[in-house]
Symmetry: C2
Subunit: 143 residues, 2 copies
């Protein structure tokens, strides 16, 4: 049993728990995101998915992505108004957008820091979601 089997069982479980069907399209889309965790855009996911299933439609990919997000299996990542990207990392984390390469890197954020951020809110404000993102460059140092 490899890890993708495990992930797909988890996927099927989550979907059925939510009263949704574990279809092969959803599975293929999910695997495409897991396959290379570089925050792919919908187009990129569509391309990956078509290798496995050339007949899948773009609309379906959009549908599946929405479903997966709703089930909490993946997260949406937005920078400004650039095309939406997706991320299977479910731990609380931030994103760093490298201006030079266009790549996005996950940044670990301790739970304690999240609490500090939440504490910035005025009384009564309840955040369902906190998004933290950086944009900039990476200096390459010789060693």
């Amino acid at each position: 049993m490899n890890s993708s089997t495990v992930n797909c069982e988890a996927l099927a479980k989550r979907l059925t728990q939510s009263g949704l069907r574990p279809t092969v399209q959803r599975e293929v889309v999910y695997k495409a995101i897991l396959e290379k965790r570089n925050h792919p855009s919908t187009d990129e996911i569509f391309a990956r998915v078509r290798e496995q299933m050339p007949t899948i439609s773009l609309a379906t990919v959009y549908n599946c992505l929405e479903t997966l997000v709703q089930c909490g299996l993946i997260k949406q990542v937005n920078f400004e108004r650039a095309p939406t990207r997706y991320c299977p990392n479910l731990y609380e984390h931030a994103h760093f957008h490298d201006d030079a390469t266009g790549e996005v890197h996950d940044i670990a954020v301790p739970a304690e820091m999240m609490d500090r951020l939440r504490a910035l809110l005025p009384p009564g404000y309840k955040a369902a979601n906190i998004e933290l993102s950086f944009r900039g460059g990476v200096m390459h140092t010789r060693n």
Copy 2:
């Protein structure tokens, strides 16, 4: 001399400093954002601006907004892929999007917290920009 005169002198100064012309369109757009600081979208700004200058075009509003952002006089605010909003608050701050009303509120963020956030980045990562945004609801407590 009222505050809007002051602001517009500041605007003119900034523009000429950057080698740009202080045109009446830029002034009107800037004033529209200052007028009611509720993070208006481009459409909203366009509507406000047309009251003063019914002949202005939407393209010009887009152009002016871009110019003002580049001059550092206003900031862009993005939530997911919703229409871009604009904000004249130049202090470092976060945004809270109220899901119920759609309103956006500024959240003060101490400089010290910004430093903590920056410290989350791996060595070599230099953030030109940090964006922190909350999404959620506001509980109304009786008093």
